[in-house]
Amino acid sequence: MTYLVAAVGGLGFFALSMLLLGVWPGEALEEQIHQTSPAHPLPLSASEQRGRAIYAREGCAYCHTQQIRYLARDVSRFGKATLAWETIFDYPHLWGTRRIGPDLSREAGVRSPDWQYSHLFAPQTLVRDSVMPAYPWLFHGAPDQPAQDARDVLAYLETLGRDRYLAGPEGEAAAKKACNCSEDERKFAFGPGPLNASPAIPLRKGKFPLLPVSNDEARGRQLYSRNCAGCHGAEGAGDGAGAAGLHPKPANFTEQEYAQERLSQALWNGVAGTAMPGWRDIPPADLAAMARTVRNFHQNGPEPALPEGVLELGAKVYAAHCAQCHGEKGAGDGSAADQFPVPPTNFQTQRPSLAASLRAVKNGIEGTPMAPWSGRLSEAEVYAAAYFVRGFYKGGIRKGDGQ
């Protein structure tokens, strides 16, 4: 009897389960990998491997899954369902069984490096209501002083979804054709939706809805302090707790005027090349309420008197030095604009105060292609250009509109 129980109950049923749910599905997976994998998926570099080890050690996988399920709710939130070949370098897998934070299978390219560092260093400074733990020991004391460990983690995060992205449309088409998979699998893994559905990826040229003018001050304030104050500061001065490690710094709303179009664009699409994410998961009415709050932070400073000849000098300097980026008419669409990771300011939809404009032209804007001009242009030229760009503004609604 003892032998029977040990042999059948202990060993036999174990072997059966291994075979039915381990070995045999493994063969089916192997086959699918063979059919759908690109010829040369990119393995992890040494730094990426080290980052992966830190991710494993810190239990990131116990709050973040790395598997987009074959379900509409997963696909619409995160992107195309995870294929077997996407995890072939995962020893051991990091699939996870709990989502306290979002799935990270497609995290590559979603956030800017300064966002990722600041977030790892102290998540709640950027995302007020986050419960993600802080990992300050991966840094040399400040969010913009990452130690090798933090660099490695970031390098690893940038591999998540990379191979599928690199496979490109050709790879997708080939995989879809070769895959011996069911209708459902086809629908969720190769459907028409985006590979990465994150609502936060900054889109440089994405379409955006023009937000209505909201008069819901209370709602705007509430949402602003929940979503934006960590970076832009409680009173919009760009001095939130999360601002310290960001380059460029979050915009200072007290010294900017915005057309509704600009706010709509920045809120919907984010600002490419910066830590400013898109907010496409927030309903437009709520975005409009926040846009109102942003606009209301603006403080009208005294406008200095215009010295003789400034506009002519400004136009000259602008045409010579600025138009290739900011565009002839100041619309941010100069011939060189597309070469840079951060789009040049469109002065038609946004007007900095003279002080802010002067500061930007003199010192440049750290973390962006906007270089300092003080050495290259005379004091008068700098002043004239800084003044001149403010003339492009086409305005729009002003502070107090919609009340």
């Binding site: 202990g10 059966l16 294929l83 802080a134």
Partner: protein, 462 residues
């Protein structure tokens, strides 16, 4: 198959051949590691309620606490509790001593000072595996497998030596559980290191379920099947049902694994098979539990004996958690509640409700039969109510949290809405630590105060 464990009902008979010192050592280690694991758990829970509340030391990070919590519960608390019970039960079930007391000391030392303690420390120092129920690093796993081998020698040899024609059902579960785990443990810990991604995950799914279903469950059922007749003096209601339950359970449990990865890329046929097995398992558990409950019917189980009260309550939790398990494996439910706190509630109902109550019952039962130990029934009664209420509040709380998260996710609202929705429940969960810790401390107090055992009779306890 024999009718009931060959233990007399009288508490006064010192059990022949029982290594009393090892029962006592493992029982102490069990309760000690339990309290530490509980502390890891509450620290992790506090991090979710108030991020940063645990300070910013690297070795105190949420993930590491989380790893040590579950490994401590499974290996430290339940492992030691099972050993304590086995030292009591195996000699009585087989009529033979365990292989060697000397070996017992080795196993004790190995289990606690080479596996649990260093495992905890290594995890905190950053050496671990990101695999559920397998978080201790591979070096530790080597010793776990060694210890499981030694445990097989220690506890299974008496069964083989005695060459019993018939085995009591507890013996079946002990033999099946120990042999199965000897194979499943290395599979779950090593295969995902060798097979990448989805293919490794298929095996992880198996182990996640085997750890609970083929290590914890059989040994807990061995305790329940043992304590009920021993404490009531009545045989199990139906031996046919015991047997049916056993074989179905050992056949079906291992086939459940893939239900942890429903809607994943793992072939749909494996998922469907696992879901079917999960459904049938629910039916099987109803059979097992009905058999057990019919065995305690009319025995005044609640008042008669503390060990009996705990194991019977464990049986009730086993029923609830298994039916819940069968339901949440169904695709329509799984797609909503998977990845949410609902599942965390489910695993507490399993490990804290079913398993821990059975383990506590087993420890109390063995303890009362050790010579010269103390036992304070009133304190144990308090412990019981604190544990029941702490557990139920926590499970209810996490279940609602899970539903709130599921609702936020399916509404397409920003991710943070689900975090904000769960936050109040995470805060409540922290407070369930108070009744639970108090319960376990009273349990410890109840086993170290009061009358000396070995003088009392069953009749008086009623």
């Amino acid at each position: 198959m024999i009718e009931h464990p060959p233990e007399t009902e009288s508490l006064s008979v010192p059990s022949a051949g029982v290594e009393t010192r090892l029962v006592s050592l493992h029982a102490h280690a069990a309760l000690g590691t339990l309290l530490v694991s509980l502390l890891f758990g509450v620290l992790a829970a506090m991090e979710l309620a108030v991020p940063g509340s645990g300070g910013s030391a690297p070795f105190m990070s949420w993930g590491k606490l989380r790893y040590d919590h579950t490994q401590g519960i499974m290996l430290g608390w339940l492992g030691n509790a099972f050993f304590a019970f086995l030292y009591h039960a195996v000699p009585l079930l087989t009529g033979r001593t365990v292989t060697s007391a000397r070996l017992g000391q080795w196993i004790f030392g190995l289990w606690n000072f080479v596996i649990v303690l260093p495992g905890w420390v290594l995890v905190l120092a950053g050496f671990s595996q990101p695999l559920e129920w397998a978080e201790f690093p591979l070096v530790i796993d080597v010793f776990v497998v060694l210890a499981l081998l030694l445990a097989a020698v220690q506890f299974l040899a008496p069964f083989f030596r005695s060459a019993l024609e018939d085995l009591y059902v507890s013996s079946w579960y002990i033999i099946g559980g120990l042999v199965f785990t000897l194979f499943a443990y290395p599979m779950g810990n090593i295969v995902p290191e060798l097979l990448p991604g989805a293919r490794g995950a298929a095996f992880s799914g198996l182990w996640i379920h085997d750890a609970v279903g083929l290590f914890v469950t059989p040994l807990c059922l061995a305790i329940v099947y043992y304590v009920i007749p021993a404490a009531t003096g009545r045989p199990i209601y139906s031996h046919f049902l015991s047997m049916l339950g056993f074989w179905l359970l050992f056949f079906l449990y291992p086939l459940n694994g893939t239900h942890h990865y429903v809607f994943s890329v793992i072939p749909m046929s494996a998922q469907i098979g696992a879901i079917a097995a999960s459904t049938l398992l629910g039916v099987d558990v109803v059979i097992v539990v009905a058999n057990l409950l019919l065995s305690v019917r009319g025995t005044n189980w609640f008042r008669r004996d503390m060990g009996l009260r705990f194991v019977t309550t464990a049986t009730l939790f086993y029923l609830i958690v298994s039916i819940q398990g069968s339901l949440q494996a169904q695709m329509s439910i799984n797609q909503s509640v998977h990845f949410t706190d609902w599942v965390v509630g489910h695993s507490h109902l399993a490990m804290l409700g079913f398993a821990s109550f059975a383990a506590v019952g087993g420890i109390i039962h063995a303890w009362q039969r050790l010579p010269g130990k103390r036992c304070n029934t009133m304190l144990l009664g308090w412990a019981y109510w604190l544990l029941v209420s702490g557990l139920l509040i926590m499970v209810l709380d996490l279940t609602i949290a899970g539903l709130a998260e599921a609702a936020a996710w399916s509404s397409g609202a920003p991710w943070l809405d689900s975090v904000r929705a769960a936050r109040p429940y995470w805060i409540i969960r922290v407070f369930t630590f108070i009744p639970l810790a108090a319960g376990f401390i009273l349990l410890l107090a109840g086993l170290s105060s009061g009358e000396r055992t070995g003088a009392k009779n069953e009749g008086e306890a009623a």
